[in-house]
């Protein structure tokens, strides 16, 4: 068989040319996609401005508006988008904090660590990251939380939110199945109430209502208040996920635990919960992605996470109107992370050995 014939066979077997309707659709849509792709490459690469000379204004970019993208805004403001308003000479600290979080996420995929070690990591690494950002210890300078921003803040809010919500969520999920009507009622009311109210409302509560509920003179910083609100909300959603996991544990497991004389707590802690948690892992990963994205709502109360920092870039008079470029870049960062995690979650769902 000649190379050409082999190529033709390959072509005919490709999914887009399986049969006549496929071939026609591929041809028609292919032209449209090729045209859109061509226009995008023309805008985003060929006519794009990648950098501007130092101290130059953005006139060059404004002149090519509509014809070419202005990636110079990313080049110039990259450090701000990633690290926020953190002191410039200290930005190795947010960078290391991001690295710590990434180590945590990678470690979470290693199954031999799926025991108390993972729990220890989820406490130790976020704590280390916060210490690094905060400073005031080991000779590194103290940086107040209003200067924290960018990617480490996004990692921080979602990871600490998830870790701190977890014990609370376990309690809520178990409470929902409790036999005491009062406990059961409170847990159901909490879960349903929190899930019925938008997250933004909770953030506003944390921002403006919380100071009314603590004694005068006591101030808790805004970031911590937002973090507490996020923890309280995540707990309700994770509790629902765990409820599904608890329901998936066969009744025989409870009965077997009871038959060897285990009372409620030992049987829950040793028999039921470990199985329920394993079943819930894919759903937990999906919840984590959802809140990784949703922590961006802290913009509404004036915190600068990754998206908040990006939004702040285009407030600057020099870069007003370049939102499309800035948001495309930010979207890419979110997409790479969330897509990666969701693909991992897919492999978990498919594998039967959970």
């Amino acid at each position: 068989m000649t190379a050409l014939a082999r190529l033709a066979t390959l072509f005919r077997r490709a999914p887009m040319f399986r049969d006549r309707s496929n071939a026609i659709a591929t041809a028609l849509l292919g032209i449209a996609i090729a045209y859109a792709g061509f226009r995008f490459v023309e805008w985003g690469i060929v006519n794009a401005i990648w950098s501007l000379p130092q101290e130059a204004g953005s006139q060059a970019c404004r002149a090519t508006r509509g014809q070419g993208a202005c990636w110079a805004v990313i080049a110039e403001r990259f450090r701000f988008i990633v690290c926020g308003a953190y002191p410039f000479d200290q930005q190795w600290r947010p960078a290391c904090a991001c690295l710590l979080f990434l180590v945590l996420y990678v470690a979470s995929t290693i199954r031999t660590l799926w025991n108390w070690r993972l729990l220890a990591l989820w406490i130790a690494l976020p704590a280390a990251a916060v210490t690094l950002l905060r400073g005031g210890l080991f000779g590194i300078s103290y940086v107040p939380s209003e200067f924290w921003g960018g990617l480490p803040l996004t990692f921080l809010l979602s990871t600490v939110g998830f870790a701190a919500a977890f014990p609370f969520a376990v309690a809520l999920a178990l409470g929902r199945r409790a036999e005491l009507p009062a406990v059961k009622g409170v847990c159901i009311a909490y879960i349903e109430l929190v899930r019925g109210i938008p997250l933004v409302t909770f953030l506003f509560m944390a921002s403006v209502m919380f100071p009314l509920f603590v004694p005068q003179g006591v101030t808790i910083d805004k970031l911590l208040r937002a973090q507490i609100a996020i923890v309280l909300v995540i707990a309700a959603y994770v509790a629902e996920v765990l409820r599904g996991g608890l329901q998936a544990v066969p009744k025989a497991q409870y009965e077997a635990a009871a038959s060897i004389g285990l009372s409620y707590w030992p049987s829950t802690m040793l028999i039921v919960l470990p199985q329920a948690l394993r079943v819930s892992i894919p759903a937990l990963v999906n919840t984590f992605i959802a809140f990784f994205k949703d922590t961006s709502l802290v913009i509404a109360i004036g915190l600068f996470d990754l998206l908040g920092a990006a939004k702040a870039v285009i407030v600057d008079a020099k870069w007003v109107g370049f939102g499309v470029e800035v948001y495309l870049f930010t979207a890419l960062v979110y997409f790479v992370f969330c897509y990666g995690v969701s693909q991992y979650s897919r492999t978990l769902e498919i594998s039967k050995t959970l």
Partner: protein, 312 residues
């Protein structure tokens, strides 16, 4: 139980003391006071001389307007996407898959800000795009001709928008904030509904569509008369929760300046200081919407199940 009650009582006591110390009034008297701020033009007239109560009402209407439109559009687009994902045409299925991944893996708030920024790159009013005669598209919004009722013959006339000052006067308009919010909510929710529709269709036994094909029904008719009615039972409960999510997500309006209930609540509490009452009202509205929507969906779901039982 005693601990919880005691804790709540302590907090309430503290809050009352704090409110007194700061000279913040409590109660709902503020609702009758003059708001003093403007709200962008909407279906209900509002001026800065109107009361807070009216402002919050306008905000609720704006929330309902964008939510209901979003739900209708997202359902329609979602069904199309769900069917497209299962298309035997590879390119169509691939496009639907790619769309889903982009929507699902970026924050909705980012998508809203992106659509809003994209709209801002449109030309200024004097150079507005005119895709159709009388229709103007510029960074201030979309302006279209609208019917105007008259007292004499021919009772109805068409009012065309005309360039005036910094924008257009007359006709009907869609603000960039509304358009960006609606586009973002619709496109995001449609992707998620598409996945639910796809799951529902896949859950229908293959024998059903094969039997229908054996009877000689066309592919479209099989989908319309055999597969979708059965899939609907699986599709409705998760779709209902997507509708609820859409209503809750409409609060992201606050980031792009669309005057929804939350953004007006925010202005109100900043001006009056009465955070507890204002947030309490907003929460009550969202809870009421959530509860009534889920009751309605449960009733519809029950009706579908009953109909299914009758026919089988």
């Amino acid at each position: 139980m005693a601990v919880v009650v005691g804790f709540i009582a302590a907090i309430a006591f503290q809050a009352a003391a704090n409110l007194r110390a700061r000279g913040i009034a409590s109660g709902f008297d503020f609702l009758d006071r003059t708001a003093g701020f403007e709200i962008a033009r909407g279906p209900i007239d509002f001026s800065s001389r109107d009361t807070y109560a009216r402002a919050l009402f306008v905000g609720s209407i704006n929330t309902f307007r964008v939510s209901l439109l979003g739900i209708a559009l997202a359902t329609a687009l979602g069904v199309v996407l769900g069917v497209a994902r299962l298309s035997s045409v590879w390119v169509i299925a691939a496009i639907a898959k790619g769309y889903l991944e982009v929507m699902r893996n970026t924050p909705l708030l980012l998508q809203l800000l992106f659509w809003y920024s994209l709209w801002q790159t449109l030309p200024a009013p004097p150079d507005a795009l005119t895709p159709l005669p009388g229709v103007f598209l510029c960074f201030r919004g979309l302006f279209v001709p609208s019917p105007v009722w008259q007292t004499d013959y021919p009772w109805i006339s068409i009012e065309r928008p005309a360039l005036a000052g910094f924008g257009f006067q007359g006709g009907a308009s869609v603000s960039p904030e509304f358009a960006a919010l609606l586009a973002g909510l619709t496109m995001y929710t449609a992707a998620l509904i598409g996945e639910i529709v796809r799951g529902g269709i896949l859950a229908v036994d293959k024998g059903q569509s094969e039997a229908a094909a054996a009877l000689g029904l066309s592919r479209i008719r099989i989908l319309r008369h055999v597969v979708l009615p059965q899939a609907l039972r699986i599709i409705i409960p998760p779709t209902a929760s997507q509708f609820l999510n859409l209503v809750k997500n409409s609060t992201l309006a606050v980031a792009i300046g669309y005057p929804d209930l939350i953004s007006i609540t925010n202005t109100t509490l900043n001006q009056t200081g009465q955070a507890i009452e204002a947030i309490g009202l907003a929460m009550a509205v969202y809870l009421a919407v959530s509860v009534s929507l889920s009751l309605a969906m449960n009733a519809y779901n029950a009706a579908i199940l009953r109909r299914g039982e009758r026919t089988t």
